[in-house]
Amino acid sequence: VLGEKFSSVFKKLRGYGKLTEKNIEEAVRDVRLALLEADVNVGVVKSFLEKVKDRALGEVVFQNLNPQSQFLKIVHEELVAVLGGAEKTLILEGKPPHVLLLVGLQGCGKTTTAAKLANYFKKKGRHPYLVPADVARPAAIDQLSTLAQKIGVPCWPTKTEDNPVEIAGQAVDFASRELNDIVLVDTAGRLHIDDELMAELGRLKKKFGNSRTLFVADAMTGQEAVKVARAFHDLLKLDGVILTKQDGDAKGGAALSIQSVAGCPIYFTGMGEGIDALEPFSPERLVSRLLD
């Protein structure tokens, strides 16, 4: 009898047995609110929670946890996994030149990021070349060439009357003859619903046998991140994502929304206006902020 009494006490101490719909109900609600307040897209939150509940239900609760905190632990792990797990390195090996196209909405940080990337590669002993292919925005060429000069990276002398696709082609030919192995093409910001400008990106991509399209996105983008990323991805097949302005206090839920449709790694994150403010994207760090 004493043995039974002890074993029931132990059962209580050992916790609640398994995770059930009932005992994680409140935690699921809290997570949903946290993700929505962090700007994760409504649809993405829904499918993520379904997937996480599928994994969680029936799991045995660990000794030192209660169902709610066990569920939160699982959510944390799943979010990190969805965002790529560990930091991903952008590896550019093989026959040069490696052409990187920076694309995205207006004002997200493409021009600044192009310079930051050039600086990053230069510091690694590579030979980057910058191409201003934004002939629409006032002083955009000026902006990139000023930054290029600052970091000592060569930059194509684009003129506003040039055609972006032509100019990129000429610049890449020139750069490869000059033995620059990485060419970064800065493009004009554009709306995902602007068919003409999206088609221009398609032509730009077609210009090169082998290129990478990097989607630059503002960390504080809201619900629309899914629609935007999907439009860019459907047309161009994105090879990577760079999340900017993460030095602010936006939770960055857009990262999850973008990942859900683009399925390519988030390589870097912009952490300031300075040219050195580029860091490898850390899923762990973003998830901690997301659930904070």
């Binding site: 940080g109 006032p138 000026d142 709306l191 504080m220 935007v228 302005k245 206090d249 936006a250 206006e273």
Partner: protein, 293 residues
């Protein structure tokens, strides 16, 4: 969605999804849904009408605040009306200035553009091009010059050249950067000093007349962080209004509902494109229709 004969109660999840997808945010969506349940309309049609009315009420409750003060020819006491454009990086401050300059020019005003973003590469040149396009006067400082001194010189030059308005471009700044918010306060004080409205002792406007308008520029694609932006900028400087840019995209700008509800700031203009004429006065009715579309 709001067809007749649908139980209002069963519409709630769809309504929530619609509002959340428009960046209205959790708290404001909850507030609207609670209000809807209290009002308990009989039909979907009534529910729709109720919600639109509620949001429109929030957005128009501030329209009674006139632009302060109203733009007279030559500003007040011979000093040009001063309008600051502030906000985080990349939202469209510089472009909005170009558009507003064009609009004011077409109203017969003499406009001065002041390039007080002395930090970012080619910022001064970018505004210089807008000055050419809108046929406005232009004052810029040297690279990395003290922004407050550019504001002072710009406003003084606007007065000397008998301008009606001076539009001040500022560097983008994340609201979390305290030293940059301090810099902004200094710039605002400099405008007041130029107008001789404040003792030169560093006190925030409230005494003499501050810049006539300080507009916070917000990007329509911004999520919940927009509310933080508004809170912190308002805490730092006496904002007088909001401008929503990039409304020509697909984002609904729902965060605006929370911002207006909390700050009472009026929405002055909406940016609907990248060309000089792409600026419209804000219409609460149109905004609400699009929100529920």
């Amino acid at each position: 969605l709001f067809g007749p004969g649908r139980e209002v109660r069963e519409l709630i999840p769809e309504i929530e999804e619609k509002l959340l997808s428009a960046d209205v945010g959790v708290a404001t969506t909850q507030m609207l849904v609670d209000a809807l349940q209290t009002a308990s309309p009989k039909t979907g049609q009534e529910a729709y009408g109720f919600l639109k009315g509620k949001v429109e009420e929030i957005l128009t409750s501030t329209e009674k605040i006139p632009p302060n003060p109203p733009l007279k020819k030559g500003g007040e006491g011979g000093f040009p009306k001063v309008i600051f454009f502030v906000g985080i990086n990349g939202v469209g401050k510089t472009t909005t200035i170009g558009k507003l300059a064009h609009r004011l020019k077409s109203e017969g005003k003499k406009v001065m553009l002041v390039a007080a973003d002395t930090f970012r590469a080619a910022a001064r040149d970018q505004l210089g091009i807008w000055a050419e396009r809108s046929q406005a006067e232009f004052v810029g400082g040297s690279d990395n010059a003290d922004p407050a001194s550019v504001v002072f010189d710009g406003c003084s030059a606007a007065k000397a050249r008998k301008c009606d308005v001076a539009l001040i471009d500022t560097a983008g700044r994340l609201q979390t950067k305290t030293h940059l918010m301090e810099e902004l306060k200094k710039m605002v004080r400099a405008a007041s000093k130029a107008a001789g409205r404040l003792p030169a002792v560093g006190r925030l406007p409230g005494a003499g007349r501050p810049p006539d308008e300080i507009l916070l520029i917000l990007d329509a694609t911004t999520g919940q962080n927009g509310l933080n932006q508004a809170r912190v900028f308002l805490d730092a400087v006496p904002l007088t209004g909001l401008v929503l840019t990039k409304y020509d995209g697909t984002a609904k700008g729902g965060i605006l509902v929370s911002i207006v509800r909390e700050t009472g700031l009026p929405l002055r203009y909406v940016g609907v494109g990248e060309k000089i004429e792409d600026l419209k006065p804000f219409s609460a009715h149109e905004f609400v229709s699009s929100l529920f579309a």
